[in-house]
């Protein structure tokens, strides 16, 4: 059985990110390519952060999910270039983050140049833009902690990178 790559992508769209299970690895934009090499399904994945501990888990989850679909030989390969950007998170992924209570990253990440002062986040609870940053690092390296000045709820912001 050699399902076409669109079908495989649909399946991968159901593999959740281990750190933020609200979105899938496809939503996150880290699945760079899917293709067959003879009887082996090759999935190319780009890491988010160089030291993200989820990277190994993601490769294992992808393998497990594809085995469960009946594909016997799966090779998950790392592709380093071009480097991942939060701009690659799909519009659906951004909406899912928001629904989950995480403010999605500002677009055009390159313009932020790693400066939190150049980034703003609207409150995922009430939508207010009257928010402030509490800390540059949150529960994971990819997030910062914010607070809404209107509804007073604290929330995570997915940093643009």
């Amino acid at each position: 059985m050699r399902p076409d790559t669109d079908t495989v992508r649909d399946w991968l769209g159901e593999v959740p990110d281990p750190e933020i299970p609200a979105i899938s690895v496809v939503d996150l934009g880290i699945v760079r390519d899917v293709g067959w090499e003879n009887d082996t399904l090759v999935v190319e994945v780009t890491p988010t952060y160089a030291g993200c501990p989820a990277t190994l888990v993601i490769a294992l989850d992808i393998e497990t999910a594809l085995h469960a679909r009946g594909i016997e030989k799966v090779d998950v390969r790392r592709r380093m270039s071009p480097a991942w950007s939060t701009d690659w998170i799909s519009p659906e992924g951004r909406q899912k983050l928001l629904d989950y209570g995480i403010a999605p990253p500002q677009l055009n990440a390159a313009n932020c140049a790693g400066m939190l002062s150049a980034q703003t986040a609207a409150c995922p609870q009430c939508g207010s833009e009257n928010t402030e940053m509490l800390a540059g690092r949150g529960s994971t390296p990819c997030k910062a902690q914010f607070r809404c000045r209107d509804c007073r709820e604290p929330f995570d912001y997915f940093k643009a990178i």
Partner: protein, 249 residues
């Protein structure tokens, strides 16, 4: 040794030892947010180490893994800059060490984004994004604590006085860097030094701190000469893999 191997070990050892040192703040920093920040940055640095070691191991061609390089080499075989092995004396020392490192690391990674060596270029284009976030934090805290209370200012100045002599080791070069510069692997080294000088002059002045003048510059880390703290760091970092060399999770 292939200059690529030496250079990648110099870079990877420097990020590994600093990652190990910043990880030690997990559970001990003065406030929770900084505890998380140091742990997160350590994670980035150790992730970057993995990439440097992969390039080194492949160029070396002896079948060693990144773990072999991290855990089964001795002190004289580590080629990290001496700055990063300086101890976690207090939060001021840890921050100043981080800031001086970042002030070099960012322009270095920016320069490497144009390297003629594909794997190094890919590594740099990935790492540089993380490093920008690192210096954003370090710079902010150096200014806030330097230009802060009398006590915080005194501690930051003390840390700067103690660590400044080690900063030069980050930029020390020999025939390895010169060879790679000639091949385009290591472009723009002179710009790195200028960027470091401009960054530190501007930020330390905003922080009302004074750069020590005519300070003695310590070098040698990049040829395996280390300070007295290095052995303790390796002993702690390597103890488990050396005790149980075939252990698996």
């Amino acid at each position: 040794m292939d200059p690529i191997v030496t250079f990648c070990l110099r870079m990877g050892d420097t990020t590994l030892i600093l990652g190990q040192q910043t990880a030690a703040w997990c559970g001990h920093a003065p406030v929770l947010e900084e505890d998380i920040a140091f742990a997160n940055m350590g994670l980035d640095l150790i992730g970057q180490t993995q990439l440097w070691y992969e390039i080194a191991a492949e160029a070396e061609g002896k079948g060693r893994t990144p773990d072999d390089l991290a855990f089964f080499r001795t002190e004289r075989q580590f080629l990290n800059a001496q700055l990063v092995e300086r101890p976690n004396t207090d939060f001021a020392h840890a921050l100043m060490r981080q800031y001086l490192f970042d002030a070099w690391h960012l322009p270095m990674q920016e320069a490497l984004c144009d390297s003629s060596h594909e794997a190094i270029r890919d590594l740099a284009q990935k790492s540089v994004k993380e490093v920008r976030y690192h210096i954003d934090r370090s710079r902010d805290l150096i200014v806030r604590l330097g230009d802060g209370s009398d006590e915080s200012r005194a501690k930051m100045q003390g840390a700067l006085d103690a660590l400044w002599p080690y900063a030069g080791d980050l930029m020390a070069t020999d025939e390895v860097e010169e060879t790679l510069a000639g091949q385009g692997v290591l472009p723009g080294l002179d710009r790195v030094r200028r960027a470091f000088d401009a960054e530190t002059a501007a930020t330390l002045s905003r922080a009302t701190l004074t750069i020590p003048e005519n300070g003695h510059a310590r070098t040698g880390g990049r040829t395996g000469i280390h300070t007295e703290t290095m052995g303790y760091i390796l002993a702690e970092m390597q103890s488990v893999p050396r005790t149980f060399p075939d252990a698996r999770w």
